[in-house]
C-alpha cells in the first residue's frame, strides 16, 4: 500500500504548491516600505508649479497617495473609480504625476476628471524610485503618523476600495 501512497502523497504536495503558485500574481512584489515612514519629498504642484507639496503637510490625517501618469493605460481604467470615490470626501487623495509632461497631465485630468486634492509632478521619476514604484498606477495608504500602511499595485477597482482600502482607512482613522 505504501508504495502507492508515497508517490501519490508527493503528487498531491506538488499540485498544492503549483495551485498556490498560480494564485500569486508575479507582478505583485511585496514592498519593503510597508510600516515604514513614507519617504519625504518636496515637489512642485501640477496645477501651480510655484507651489510645492511635501507629505509632512498631511500629518494627522489618513490619506492616499496615488501614482498616475497620462501615458499610463491602466490609469484610464482606474480614474472613474477614483473620481467617484473622491466625491464621498472620506479620504484625501494626493496624486503623484509620474514621469509625465505637465500639459499632457493637465489635459488628461480635464478629460477624465480630477479626484485629487492636488497633484505633484515627479518629472524625472526620482520620488517614484524612493517609493519603490515600478508599475503605474500604484496606491499607498498613509496613516496619521505618516507611515505607509498598504500599497496597492495596479488599478484600484471598486472591489479593492471596498474590501481592502476602506476597511483599513476606517481602522486607521479611529
Amino acid at each position: 500500500m505504501a508504495r502507492f501512497l508515497i508517490p501519490f502523497g508527493i503528487f498531491i504536495a506538488l499540485v498544492v504548491f503549483f495551485a498556490i503558485g498560480l494564485e500569486h500574481d508575479p507582478r505583485e512584489i511585496p514592498s519593503p516600505l510597508i510600516n515604514k515612514p513614507a519617504p519625504a519629498f518636496k515637489l512642485p504642484q501640477l496645477h501651480d508649479a510655484t507651489q510645492s507639496f511635501a507629505p509632512g503637510k498631511m500629518l494627522g490625517q489618513v490619506w492616499l497617495l496615488n501614482v498616475w501618469a497620462s501615458w499610463c493605460v491602466s490609469c484610464r481604467e482606474e480614474q472613474p473609480v477614483l473620481v467617484a470615490f473622491a466625491q464621498s470626501h472620506s479620504v484625501p487623495i494626493i496624486g503623484l504625476d509620474y514621469k509625465d509632461r505637465r500639459q499632457d497631465a493637465l489635459d488628461w485630468l480635464r478629460q477624465l476628471g480630477d479626484p485629487y486634492v492636488l497633484s505633484v509632478s515627479d518629472a524625472d521619476g526620482r520620488v517614484g524610485i524612493d517609493y519603490g514604484v515600478y508599475g503605474v498606477p500604484e496606491t499607498y495608504v498613509i496613516d496619521k503618523q505618516g507611515v505607509i500602511r498598504m500599497k496597492h499595485i495596479g488599478p484600484v477597482t471598486m472591489q479593492v476600495l471596498q474590501e481592502k482600502i476602506m476597511p483599513l482607512v476606517l481602522a486607521l482613522s479611529k
Binding site: P26, R27, I29, P30, S31, P32, L33, K99, D124, G125, R126, I129, D130, Y131, G132, V133, Y134, G135
Partner: protein, 155 residues
C-alpha cells in the same frame, strides 16, 4: 552593387549613431563598466526575467541612471544594493541574501537531494536484506530438490 552595399552600411552606422543608450558610455568608460557589472546582478522590476543591465524598460533606464549617480557620489556596490533593496525589496537582487526566510531557498534543494539519496539507500538495503533473509518454504525446498534431482538424472 557597390553603391547598394555602401548605402546599407551607411544606414547601419547611422542607426548606431542615433542610439540614445550609447551616449553615456563615452563619458566615463570605467564607471559605465562598473555600473553594468553591478546591474547584471540586479533585476529589472518591470520585465522580471531580465537584468537591469539588459532591460530597455523605462524604469530600468532610470535605475541605471540612479546607480551611475550613486557611484559617482562614491557609494560602494554594497551600499547601492542596500539603497535599492530598501525601496524594492530583496526581489531586485538576482542572488538572494542568506537569512532565515531564505534558508529554504538556499538549502531546500540540497535537503531534497540528500533526502532522496538517503531514501534510495534505505530502500535498496531493505530490499537486499529481504532477499537475503527470506528462508525457503517447504514447498519451494521440495521443488528445488526435485529439479536438482532431475538434472542429476539426466547427467
Amino acid at each position: 552593387m557597390k553603391r547598394i552595399l555602401f548605402g546599407i552600411l551607411f544606414f547601419t552606422f547611422a542607426a548606431a549613431a542615433l542610439a540614445k543608450e550609447a551616449a553615456p558610455l563615452a563619458k566615463d568608460p570605467a564607471l559605465e563598466a562598473r555600473m553594468l557589472k553591478l546591474s547584471k546582478e540586479l533585476r529589472c522590476l518591470v520585465c522580471q526575467n531580465e537584468t537591469l543591465a539588459d532591460s530597455q524598460a523605462d524604469l530600468a533606464r532610470d535605475l541605471r541612471r540612479e546607480v551611475r549617480e550613486k557611484m559617482r557620489e562614491g557609494m560602494s556596490d554594497a551600499e547601492i544594493k542596500h539603497y535599492l533593496t530598501h525601496r524594492y525589496g530583496d526581489f531586485v537582487l538576482y542572488r538572494p541574501p542568506m537569512k532565515p526566510t531564505t534558508w529554504v531557498l538556499w538549502f531546500g534543494p540540497f535537503l531534497l537531494l540528500f533526502g532522496a539519496a538517503g531514501g534510495l539507500v534505505f530502500f535498496i538495503k531493505r530490499r537486499r536484506r529481504a532477499l537475503d533473509e527470506t528462508p525457503l518454504t517447504p514447498d519451494e525446498a521440495t521443488r528445488i530438490q526435485s529439479l536438482l534431482n532431475k538434472e542429476s538424472d539426466r547427467a
